[in-house]
């Protein structure tokens, strides 16, 4: 078998310096903003995180009841509710709605689930025009690229690259002024909204009690998608449930501050149904698609806590590995710590293909410390590493020395001490550190090892005790 490469580490090593620094500094800035926003505004943000975590876990533990409650509430509000077991079903539902409505053009606001189902390429294949309207997502779309962050999709691009893309697409003459670039997008997308038949969104929260979705954007694109079009389709993961409308302020407080350091995102919409009768503009029909796509399996697994995620991106902003690798290294829709757990579990191709993701962590725990719903990400990474070992996924063990021999020594004090005494360090102390190849080579490429002093403390102690202890 060909030697497996450590894809994420290689990706990082091959990243150009400019991109790496851009990603690291932007992530660092967002981390600082988050800390400022939370600690300036609250005495104990950690109490909020625990509370939010409890509400979300409660919703997940009782998900079937809440899903049924939500379905009934939406229907009462005149919303047509659909269910999709996987991405293909969800995409087919969208296509079907569009055909029935005689629609051919859709404007889309940013939604991670539709990235999961690869909705845009699917619709394009079926002759529909689908346009991403979030500025970052639009750039990603015209470049045939992928988002590298769940909140700031083009964190890996600079203004010059955006300028060249806009020039290429005929939005205007080349400029690298972010203000002018934003104006170009405004003009161009404005017409797209007005021409579109369907507005497609995700949802940040689904309120079971009231049958409303809650959607936040800073740009106003979701709002526009629901003002200019005649049909609104929202595709949401089944885990997005919040029980009560009065729970929403807690989550909005945490989401805005964790994601961008804002007390509240600029546009926060509570949408429950088609436009009211007196309203001149807006959707006559609203459809809600509940997407499973692996979530019910995760719910049954020992990683179910990851479903609490509210997609704020704080864990990737703080993650030292993400800061060095950027999002594409994770080869999936969800990068960073949340992605290292979620992506291998959602991966259509199967867990083994992304089994290296849970390894891309020093288990430092910074992610859990910032997570607004207190997801024990390091624990989940450990469980997935164990899963990888148990299922013999080769990518779980790339460049990782086996520890069974070490474990044998570590359970037999005699062998352990002999090893220490004889200086057979390589057989006793963690192979990870000393194994001749490739670990030691890898270690020594950038670091020195301290001198081996196996058993010295034990010898000192013996002499010390003979002397009668403290002098």
């Amino acid at each position: 078998m060909a030697k497996l490469e450590q894809a994420i580490d290689n990706h990082a090593a091959n990243l150009d310096e400019e991109t790496r620094e851009a990603v690291r500094l932007a992530s660092k800035a967002k981390t600082e903003k988050r800390v400022n926003a939370l600690w300036t505004d609250f005495d104990d943000p950690n109490a909020l995180r625990k509370l939010a975590s409890q509400v979300r876990q409660h919703a997940l533990d009782n998900l079937p009841d809440y899903l049924e409650q939500a379905e009934a509430a939406f229907q009462k509000n005149g919303v047509q509710v659909h269910w999709a077991e996987d991405g293909d079903q969800a995409n087919a539902i969208v296509l079907d709605i569009m055909r029935r409505r005689g629609a051919s053009k859709v404007v889309k606001s940013k939604s991670m689930v539709s990235e999961e189902t690869e909705l845009v390429p699917f619709l394009e294949k079926h002759g529909m025009e689908a346009v991403e309207t979030d500025l970052g997502e639009y750039v990603v779309q015209i470049d045939g690229d992928h988002p590298s962050h769940i909140v700031t999709p083009i964190i890996h691009k600079n203004r010059r690259q955006v300028g060249r893309s806009f020039e290429r697409e005929g939005l205007g003459e080349y400029t690298e002024d972010p203000l002018e670039l934003t104006r170009m997008a405004r003009r161009h997308l404005r017409q797209k909204y007005l021409d579109a038949d369907v507005g497609m969104t995700g949802a940040n929260f689904v309120v079971a009690e009231s049958g409303r979705i809650v959607l936040v954007t800073n740009e106003g694109n979701a709002r526009f998608s629901m003002a200019a079009t005649k049909t609104h389709i929202a595709m949401v993961g089944i885990e997005k449930i919040i029980p009560r409308e009065q729970d929403v302020p807690l989550f909005l407080s945490l989401l805005g501050r964790s994601a961008t350091g804002q007390p509240l995102t600029v546009y926060t919409q509570f949408i429950g149904g088609p436009k009211s009768a007196s309203q001149e503009e807006g959707p006559e029909e609203m459809h809600l698609i509940f997407l499973d796509n692996g979530r019910s399996d995760i719910l049954a697994s020992n990683c179910k806590e990851i479903l609490r995620c509210i997609r704020c991106g704080a864990c990737m902003n703080v993650c030292p590995v993400y800061r060095q690798t950027s999002g594409h290294a994770y080869r999936s829709v969800y990068p960073g710590p949340v992605g290292a757990v979620l992506s291998p579990l959602l991966n259509k191709a199967g867990f083994p293909d992304l089994a290296d993701l849970p390894k891309a962590s020093s288990l430092c725990g910074a992610c859990q410390e910032v997570c607004p719903v207190d997801i024990p990400i390091p624990d989940l990474l450990l469980r997935l590493r164990n899963k990888g070992k148990q299922e013999h996924a080769p990518k779980t063990s790339i460049n990782t020395p086996g520890l069974s021999f070490w474990a044998l020594a570590a359970t037999q004090p005699a062998a352990w001490k002999t090893g220490l005494k004889l200086g057979h360090a390589m057989n006793v102390v963690p192979h990870a550190l000393l194994d001749v190849n490739p670990s030691a080579k890898s270690w020594r490429s950038t670091r020195e090892l301290p001198p081996f002093r196996g058993g010295d403390f034990r010898s000192w102690l013996k002499a010390h005790e003979k002397k009668g202890g403290a002098s």
Binding site: K389, L403, W406, T446
Partner: protein, 249 residues
């Protein structure tokens, strides 16, 4: 993370495998600090390692064997004092994760409730909040990652900042990891190196006279990088500072 409750000065000392193999002087300093406090110390000879390397590698079967050995070796009621935030986190949290569906989970939790990191034991366990003696110099203290969710780091800050002559300097991006992560350092060598470089920059930015750590694992990594880069700032485990202060009374 289970918070320890076992109290008293009759203790068991877990030297940690890294000190057993590399850092005898750190184990010795910790021992002498505990002796100074009047502790009656037992050092179980059968001790090996807390089992963390295997747990972190996903080899939970192996990890459980080592944890069982550790639980047996450290049996009893006394506090177990450990000069490492990381090994303490393993006995208090990691081990429990690995035993969630095992019949002997209780025993593992028992050890968890007795496990203290050294500084935390002194400050939270014994209620001591100032340290005698003198230690001259500016110290940059690394906040090792596995002290999150505990009072270990703040206990160390309490002790160090009470020492006459010692000035703690600010360390930037305290929440960032040094890049060790056990086998991570060799299986993701590039990312680990970049993280280590940043950590060395932050630790030495304010030109301290010493760099200090609560964990020799972190120090093994960023210290090894400092040596390779020729950064000469001396490095000490917190216990070594406490001991030196005692010598200057």
């Amino acid at each position: 993370m289970i918070q320890p409750t076992a109290k008293g000065k009759r203790i068991k000392f877990m030297m940690t495998c890294l000190c057993d193999a590399f850092y005898a002087d750190v184990a010795q300093a910790s021992y002498e600090v505990l002796e100074h406090l009047g502790c009656e110390i037992e050092v179980p000879a059968g001790q090996t390692c807390c089992g963390q390397p295997a747990l972190n590698s996903g080899e939970w079967e192996s990890a459980r064997k080592v944890v069982r050995h550790t639980v047996k070796t450290f049996g009893g009621e006394e506090p177990v004092v450990i000069p490492s935030g990381s090994c303490a986190a393993m006995t208090r949290h990691g081990a429990i994760l690995g035993f969630e569906s095992e019949p002997d989970l209780d025993e593992v939790e028992g050890l968890a409730r007795r496990s203290w990191e050294l500084c935390e034991y002194i400050v939270q366990g014994l209620g001591i909040d100032s340290w005698p003696g003198r230690f001259d110099g500016k110290v940059a203290l690394h906040r090792s990652c596995h002290t999150r969710g505990t009072k270990v780091y703040e206990s160390a800050v309490t002790l160090l900042s009470s020492i006459e002559g010692l000035e703690l300097v600010e360390v930037g991006e305290l929440e960032q990891c040094c890049g060790f992560g056990g086998t991570f350092s060799v299986s993701f060598p590039y990312v680990s190196k970049k993280m280590g470089q940043l950590k060395v920059e932050h630790l030495t930015e304010k030109r301290p006279n010493y760099v200090a750590s609560l964990d020799m694992a972190c120090m093994l990594h960023f210290g090894g990088m400092m040596d390779r880069q020729g950064v000469k700032t001396p490095r000490l485990h917190v216990s070594q500072i406490l001991k030196k202060a005692l010598e200057n009374r």
